[in-house]
Assembly symmetry: C2
Homo-oligomer: 412 residues x 2
Amino acid sequence: MAVNLPLPVAAELKPVAGIQLGHAEVGVRKANRKDLLVMKLADTATVAGVFTTNRFCAAPVQVCKAHLEGVRISESGIRALVINTGNANAGTGEAGLVNANATCSALAELLGCATSQILPFSTGVILEPLPVDRIKAGLPQAIANLQEDNWYKAAEAIMTTDTQPKAASRTVAINGAQITLTGISKGAGMIKPNMATMLGFLAMDARVTQSVLDHMVKEAADKSFNCITIDGDTSTNDSFMLIATGAAPLEINDVDSPEYAALAEAVIDLSQQLAQMIVRDGEGATKFIAIAVEDGETVEECRKIAYSIGHSPLVKTAFFASDPNLGRILAAIGYAGVDDLDVGKLNLYLDDVWVARNGGRNPDYREEDGQRVMKQSEITVRVKLARGDAQATIWTCDLSHDYVSINADYRS
Amino acid sequence: MAVNLPLPVAAELKPVAGIQLGHAEVGVRKANRKDLLVMKLADTATVAGVFTTNRFCAAPVQVCKAHLEGVRISESGIRALVINTGNANAGTGEAGLVNANATCSALAELLGCATSQILPFSTGVILEPLPVDRIKAGLPQAIANLQEDNWYKAAEAIMTTDTQPKAASRTVAINGAQITLTGISKGAGMIKPNMATMLGFLAMDARVTQSVLDHMVKEAADKSFNCITIDGDTSTNDSFMLIATGAAPLEINDVDSPEYAALAEAVIDLSQQLAQMIVRDGEGATKFIAIAVEDGETVEECRKIAYSIGHSPLVKTAFFASDPNLGRILAAIGYAGVDDLDVGKLNLYLDDVWVARNGGRNPDYREEDGQRVMKQSEITVRVKLARGDAQATIWTCDLSHDYVSINADYRS
């Protein structure tokens, strides 16, 4: 059902020296599916992340933040990440924190490191106790499976309502060093990241100092995972992690260097692909929609308007129906909360079709032209505000019957 | 399909002395349906209104505001309202204003008053030219139908995707005068009024001075139409009008008088009923949900959290499925934008069932208790923030397959 999203080819996912991946089936929620993933890192690795802004941030997110803070103070790096699906360990109070820490302790013992060197992640149903004993019991199996070329299975292991695994690779040559980047992501619903997506992990073999990696992960998230929305629901567990294993002969220690710029470009490019994969596989998605708002006073107001369009159930159902009911887009622009917007100067395009001109219907607009674009599986909505030079683009999908079915049935 | 919303009984809708209603079938969009309504007012009438905050406010809304402003300056009162369905006359630029004014002029000529004494309203599809000639041609038929006991047909004449007419009456004795109030409303989608509902008209036979009526309409809207949401889409045409015909022997000229309080109470009560009718007949609605947020610091933050819950597609589909997937409610609270919210003090109830306690699952909560409440057709979600004394309640409905069907097919 995903929109123009081919299955990853396992052989094309490049191993990243310095990171091994191992999965297990532990029956967190359902039997006979990969639901536990361990990523083991080289001693030289640095890790940085961005997390949900949801006030109900899940226990593992709280533990991740604390452990990453500890890394900055102690110089003892992160040695592994552990991810379970089926249960988000969110809305679980003190018991949730105990369980997230217990998962870390168990893995630390098996790997011979400190609890604070493990980062835990959970995704799935909220408000239910984490079956921590099953997770702990499955860790040896995951460790036994650790391999560098396990990215495809890793992508499968973090799926929830995703219809397919999401993974991609890049290589980039910088100063004669061939750098490999491979990432995985999962999404499908409860997607309106305010800081990051549901879950995204991107590893590369460059060596990057902690402060530079912290900068890079924010830059990449702002240009990728923070530009997507499926249903406007910001999850309790959103996390995007950037891992630099340090196995390749390239060190980046200055955000103003050309090497940083080259590596950041590749990271952003891969992050955008991983983020867009989440939208393409959005729950019930049949269309992939880019919404570009241009000529605004500020990026902030461009994003407000783009998200207002991207969240409107009326706009999203019109896309599902391939119905050029484009007044709904104007209405969504109008209630976006840009109080001094002069709609009389606004222009709206659907791909190459000029729909609204100076706030009203373009006299040259023909319904059949709008219809032609609306029937496509990929559509760009372009709004020109005539207020300044700022612009923002977000990516979203339509709202279909299947979205309702999936979310009405998710737990059953 | 509406939720616990019996059809109005025509004989129980009380005529309001000083206002006559006449409808016509003019084929604005579809043939053979009432799509034009004229309300003719006594010379003694005063009229006040609140309108959408959408920047793309429709041409008739702009004309209404100008004519109401004129009334305040000129002392020549509003003589009639004219409402069409099938076309919103929104996103129509200058031509839209010309058409809205032309409608007023034509009716003014027939009634022998000034154009500025007419208020126009439109509801329906956005971004299409108003067929003003058909509307003008139908006005004599509507005038020929003018009667005081025409409220049921008036409610039918303003329907769009509503499955049934919405109307109700009240009487209240104040200082020995029997005051009659009757109102109609229409909604069904694009409902998240920021100032008023799609369309609501409430008439009463008291005499109320303009400034007092202006005050009363805002108070009533804030406690009724501004507390509902179906899909979060604030329409371009939302209008709520309060009409005091002045035919009864009671004059209200002081907002601090006991008479004002008594009349306002009846107006608010009827406004709430009319607003809730819109939710009960929300597009595809199968459940009526009240969301009460209590013990907040400010009313504003309580409303933010209530709307965040009420707009979440994941929460709304869980209600549709009768699935007590209540973590979704916690997630929506968490991303409502109340930055210093301490979720560790938060309690959540579904009717009488205590679901979340101090931010986590209540140890005494049993899934079957949540399930029992979720199966009801009317549910109250209660969130207690433990931050102060403010509270707010909004009313909404679930998100069903039929919402998608209705909005994917609306224009076809």
